[in-house]
């Protein structure tokens, strides 16, 4: 027999399309468009995720949508998400109450794994989050903030269109007060009468941070248009491409590298991403 026939086409025991039940245990109103949810897995197991990964959230009869996990890895069966109502699933989720059940699959994707975290130790960490891009980064931000002494410095840059769109307001205020080697800079594209902070797109914050580009790791997430300008700005400062990580957004349907919806040239974002090192994808025309 030909050795090529050894391909194992036996189905595995676990069905990767079958979701697990979870209960909504907390809901908080963040902004007009975003709600925070705490979810509890009914199987009593921890989700077992690493920062940067996502889940597929199902509402039966409506559909499934990829959602970033916003809490740091935890030991219990609870985790958090923050959801903007933009499609059928997310709109429906916004009508749900504490105690309601939803379904999830995952965690999926390549997040900020140990090798990335190790690379971050003793470095200046520069988080750059635009709008809802804060959510996929929050898991890592909170992990890093638990042990800030492991890093030379932590700078968090967060830009929104308007002050109303700023999420996690209380938490952010606390982080800004933490002092030590931690700084938090905010900006909005358009301020209102109460806004006294920075005004302008997120790239206007970059010159306000003192960093040695060779000893800094930048971590970026935001709307597609933001990446382009942030990348130009960082590279002009002399930052090596391999020091830049980005979390990308695509419309994953299966989450397991089959359905093709998240393909970026030859890359399945759901499997090889959503976290990428910029040096690995700089020649990929379909990234931005």
């Amino acid at each position: 027999m030909n050795s090529n026939n050894k391909l194992n086409i036996k189905p595995k025991d676990e069905n990767l399309y079958l979701p697990e039940k979870a209960t909504i245990t907390k809901i908080k109103n963040f902004t007009d468009k975003e709600l925070f949810f705490e979810l509890e897995l009914q199987n009593n197991k921890p989700l077992g995720h690493i920062p940067g990964q996502f889940i597929q959230l199902s509402i039966l009869g409506i559909g499934e949508a990829p959602i970033s996990i916003s809490s740091p890895p935890g030991a219990d069966n609870k985790f958090e998400i923050c959801v903007r109502a933009v499609g059928d699933v997310t709109n429906k989720l916004h009508s749900f109450n504490v105690g309601d059940e939803i379904f999830i699959r995952g965690p999926f994707g390549h997040g900020f794994d140990d090798s990335i975290i190790q690379k971050m130790y003793r470095k200046h960490i520069l988080f750059i989050a635009g709008g809802i891009g804060y959510v996929p980064l929050r898991s890592l931000i909170n992990k890093v903030l638990k042990e800030p002494e492991l890093y030379e410095k932590i700078s968090i840059l967060y830009g929104c269109k308007t002050p109303d769109e700023i999420m996690y307001k209380e938490e952010i205020a606390e982080v800004a007060e933490m002092g030590k080697n931690i700084e938090f800079l905010k900006t909005v594209d358009h301020g209102d009468e109460n806004w006294t902070g920075n005004t302008g797109v997120i790239t206007t914050l970059i010159p306000q941070v003192k960093f040695n580009p060779l000893n800094t790791i930048a971590i970026i997430a935001g709307p597609p248009v933001m990446y382009k300008f942030v990348l130009i700005s960082l590279i002009n400062k002399g930052m090596p491409k391999s020091n830049i990580y980005m979390s990308l957004e695509r419309r994953m349907k299966c989450g397991v590298g089959k359905c093709g919806h998240c393909k970026m040239e030859g890359i399945y974002v759901c499997k090889e991403g959503p976290v990428f090192n910029y040096a690995d994808i700089e020649n990929n025309e379909e990234v931005l």
């Binding site: 009869g61 409506i62 559909g63 499609g87 059928d88 709109n91 429906k92 009508s95």
Partner: protein, 251 residues
Amino acid sequence: MAKPKVAFFDFASCEGCQLSAIDLAPEQMLDLLNVVDIVEFREAISEKAAKYDIALIEGSITRDCDVPRLQDIRNRSKVLVAFGACAHTGGINALKNFQKKEDYQKAVYPTDPLKYETTVTRAISEVVQVDAFIPGCPINTMEFVRIVKNLVLGKRPDIPDYSVCVECKKNENICVYEKGMHCLGPVIRAGCDAKCPSNGGYCYGCRGTVTKPNLHAQKDVMQKYNLTFDQMTDQFKLFLQRNREVFKNAG
């Protein structure tokens, strides 16, 4: 959850789409009535309600006096759906837009051409804001059911935005062009299960075009298969009045 109130209204149309809507098996009909309250339906019941959750409008607007009636329905409806080709694109009624008013008035009422008021035919969306549409002449019954379910569940109406070719290929049909006919399938919105090409016909576009049709390429195809521009516009003006100009520009 209170059952959504659904109402049907007709303007210039044959009411065939409304008949298609109730072309359901009895048990399906009962299921449907368990999910929605049909409060106005001239083909089957007669009842009036002040407000509608979902108003399905069949027919196109061909008289000025239709406009306030449609606006009134719009004001009383949460979701307004253009129901069938006449409402969606103007439909067959819009054929008269190619003729002079005097000519078609005379053709229809030779002895008293001015007896009835008439204007250029308009699709519903040319008069009021439309939230969703169910295309086709007539509509596809199962698609109607699906859209009603979508609206009741709070989902966006799930109308395909791909070409009839997709369904033709799924049905493994021999391409209409190979059979010596011409077909608009490549640029027309699917959802009909390629009914005409699958049954010996060709697609004349009753469901309107997909969002970004490549009409230049479509025109080239028809020319390659020996259809002159005039034949092309004549054969396909039935449902594509608006795209006629685009074809012309493409020429």
